[in-house]
Each structure stands twice: as C-alpha cells, then as structure tokens.
C-alpha cells in the first residue's frame, strides 16, 4: 500500500490521500484517545493535518522511500503534533512570562499584517475558476513541472501551460492590487 499511495500522490491522484485518511483514521482516534485523551473531533482534526503533511512531503520529494510501516510513520507525525498542541494550549492556560508576552505581541503584530494580506489573496483565489485553479494548484502546491501539468491537464505542451500560468498569476495580482490600490501592492 505504501508504494501505491506515494506513487498515486506523485501522479496527482488526490483520491490516494483520501483513501489513506479513511484507512487509518479510526485507529488514530482510538490510539490518541487512549494515549492522550483526545476526543474524536480533535483526533480527526489532528489526523487531517497529519495526512496533509504527509501529502506535502511526498509532493516535495522528501518521502520517496519510507523505511517503516506507513501507519507507524503517520502516527509518529501525529504524536508530535499532539504534543505540540498540548504545549501550545498549556502555555496560555498557565499564563506566559510577561517578557515573553511582549515579544509574542511584537511578533504577532507582524504576523497580523502578513496574514490579513494572505486572507485577501485567498479570497481572490477562491473566485478564480478554471483553468487557473488547477494550474496554480499543480504548480505551486503540488510542485509539478510544466511538462507534468501539460500531461495532467492535456495541454499541447509545457509552453502553453507556462503562458497560461503567467496569465493566471497576473490576473490574481491585478485583483489583489485593485483591492489594495496601486500603492500597496
């Protein structure tokens, strides 16, 4: 199954990751409930992040070969995510050091600025239909080459995809620019 899932994801079959999720999610709910007292909703939320992280690592070529069982690998990522989540929650439950709070606040100020702009870009991405939705996904999220995108979406060749991708990016930039005005972007 391990090789099938990895090659499926690499070939752009998103369904492979959905099947992976469905195969192990119930085991993960039981395991995380027993080990970390996670309720079902939190367990599913963590496991979705686990599977997405796996998907992204395969896409980036970081997981061509795994030396352990797929389930062991996924649960190990899950364990780290749960521990981080518990630490994150505890940090606020017990109150942070006041010095830390100032630092966090300053950092957060930068984050807010950045993330509000992310929100605007995302809202415009949501409005973009095909072929931009698929081309931008395959190129920027799935790390496909132009040739692979041409194959996947049945374009004549990589150059056609390249031109279309440029049009999509320019259109996205234009929409975001209109939102902010010329001075801001």
């Amino acid at each position: 199954m391990k090789e099938d899932v990895i090659s499926g994801i690499k070939n752009g079959k998103e369904q492979a990751v959905v099947e992976l999720y469905n195969t192990y999610k119930n085991d993960f709910i039981r395991w995380s409930g027993f080990r970390y007292q996670l309720d079902e909703e939190d367990a599913l939320d963590v496991f979705q992040e686990v599977v997405i992280s796996f998907y992204e690592n395969v896409k980036k070529g970081k997981l061509d070969k795994i030396n352990y069982q797929l389930k062991t690998y996924l649960f190990a990522i899950g364990k780290n995510m749960i521990i981080n989540r518990i630490k994150y929650d505890q940090r606020f439950d017990h109150g942070a050091d006041p010095t830390d709070e100032v630092e966090t606040f300053n950092l957060a100020e930068q984050e807010i600025e950045v993330n509000q702009r992310h929100g605007v870009i995302i809202a415009h991405l949501e409005k973009m239909g095909e072929p931009c939705y698929s081309i931008l996904k395959l190129y920027f999220y799935d790390s496909f080459s132009m040739e692979a995108i041409a194959n996947n979406l049945q374009y004549k060749n990589a150059n056609v995809v390249k031109s279309q991708k440029l049009r999509c990016i320019n259109e996205l930039r234009k929409r975001v620019k209109e939102h902010y005005g010329p001075e801001d972007l």
Binding site: E41, E56, F92, A108, E111, F140
Partner: protein
C-alpha cells in the same frame, strides 16, 4: 511593483529550499540591504504562501467532507422515514391530495442544506494569533469544529461588531454549524451590511444556507437569486439549489 521583476518561480523555489545555497545567499543579502527589493520579494512570497494555505485548506475540506459524508445519509434516511409516515397517514385517512405528495417528493430544505453546506475554512489562519487568548481560541475552536465553545469565545472577543466583521462572520458560521440558524442570520447580515470586504461574497452564500436551515424558503430563494445574478464563485451552486427548491 515590477522594478526588480522578481521571478515568482524563484520565490517558490526559495520557500521550498530548492535554490542553490549561493543563490539563496544572494537573495538574502538583497533582502537585508535593499528595502524596495525586500518589499517586492515579500509581496511575491505572500502570493506563494497564500496559495499553499488556500490549497491546503481545500484538501482539509475534502478530508472533513469524508467524515461528514455519513451525517447527511443519516438525516436523509430520517427524512425519508418521515415522508413514508406521512404517506401512510394520508392513505389511512384517505386524503388523496396528489399535489401534497408531490410537494414531499422535492428535497427538503434540510436535505439541501446538508448537501451544500461545508464549513468555511479559516482565511485568517495564524493571523488571528495576536497573542490575545480569546481571539486565538475562538478561531482555533472554530477550526476544530467545537462550535458552541467558539461562539462563547467570539462573543467575548467582539467588542465592536462594525470594525470586527471577520470575527462576526465566523461567529455567524459557528451559530450555523451549531444548529442555530436564526442567530447565524442575524450575525451574517451584519457582515453583509457592513463595510465592503472580501468576506461579503461567502457571507451571502452562508446567509442563503442559513435561511435554508431555518426553513425560510422565501428568503433563501431571494438570497440565492441575488447570488445567481452575480458572476461570483457561488453562482452555479445557487442555481442548482434554486432548481431544487419548490
């Protein structure tokens, strides 16, 4: 914006650690020494990062939909049983009102809601992590599907609804997910009548769904017709719903 013509493909490679260390050092040096270059690089970087967040959100929605797929079936079977009960009752009292039965052959507004409703992902992502506990918790609770707790956290956080429309939007969505459509409508309408924002389009879509959930067909039709007359991303789905409403 194009003084430097920073190549967005190179920015993608920079973020994915695919550049040579020499090229990466050159870019880092430019970012550190030239504010204009740094500004343009940041803008390109935001585009690439936003695409990652967007498509990751879509994948997460897809996985969540796998879990929710079971729920509509349960609702559907309950609704079907209800229909059968009505049909039996009608036959017992010999009231052959064919138009009435025909009415019940349309999907109910609840069934349509179940079919089309998907939680809207968090476009604010870590941007809400302002260091203020309640706000962060509210979005975090929303993302984890703990809507009743999210409602309480949002209520604590919202001091001025007119300037915190994003949080009012997610408060409305939390009410909708927690089966309180009237309160959802009240809050989502505040977003729509508030200052222009990118959340107004999804707000209108969820307003239509909230009316469906509240079984207020007349208002649902009104909202979906308004969406149908735009060229937004919910146009097709609104037309599909209108076709199925009585």
């Amino acid at each position: 914006m194009s003084d430097y013509n920073i190549d967005i493909d190179e920015v993608r490679d920079y973020l994915q650690d695919k550049l040579s260390s020499q090229r990466k050092q050159e870019i880092d040096k430019m970012i550190a020494s030239d504010p204009e270059y740094a500004r343009e690089f940041t803008q390109q970087k935001e585009l690439v990062e936003s695409m990652t967040v967007f498509y990751r959100g879509k994948l997460k929605q897809k996985l969540k939909a796998e879990d929710q797929a079971k729920r509509p079936k349960q609702v559907r079977s309950a609704s079907i049983s209800k229909r059968r009960w009505w049909a039996m009752a009608a036959s017992v009292v010999l009231i052959a009102v064919s138009g009435y039965l025909l009415f019940f052959s349309d999907p109910s507004s609840q069934e349509l809601f179940d079919e089309y409703y998907r939680p809207y992902y968090n476009v604010l992502t870590s941007g809400e992590r302002s260091g203020e506990k309640t706000e962060m918790d509210a979005m975090s609770l929303y993302e984890r599907g703990r809507y009743q707790e999210a409602i309480t956290a949002f209520q604590e956080e919202i001091k001025d609804p007119s300037s915190q429309t994003a949080l009012v939007f997610y408060l409305g969505l939390s009410y909708l997910a927690a089966d309180q459509p009237l309160k959802a409508i009240e809050n989502i309408e505040k977003v729509i009548s508030g200052p222009a924002s990118v959340l107004q389009e999804p707000a209108q879509w969820y307003l239509g769904l909230a009316y469906l959930k509240a079984e207020d067909i007349e208002n649902a039709q009104r909202v979906f017709r308004e969406i149908q007359n735009t060229s937004g991303s919910y146009q097709d789905q609104s037309s599909e719903i209108l076709d199925q409403l009585p």
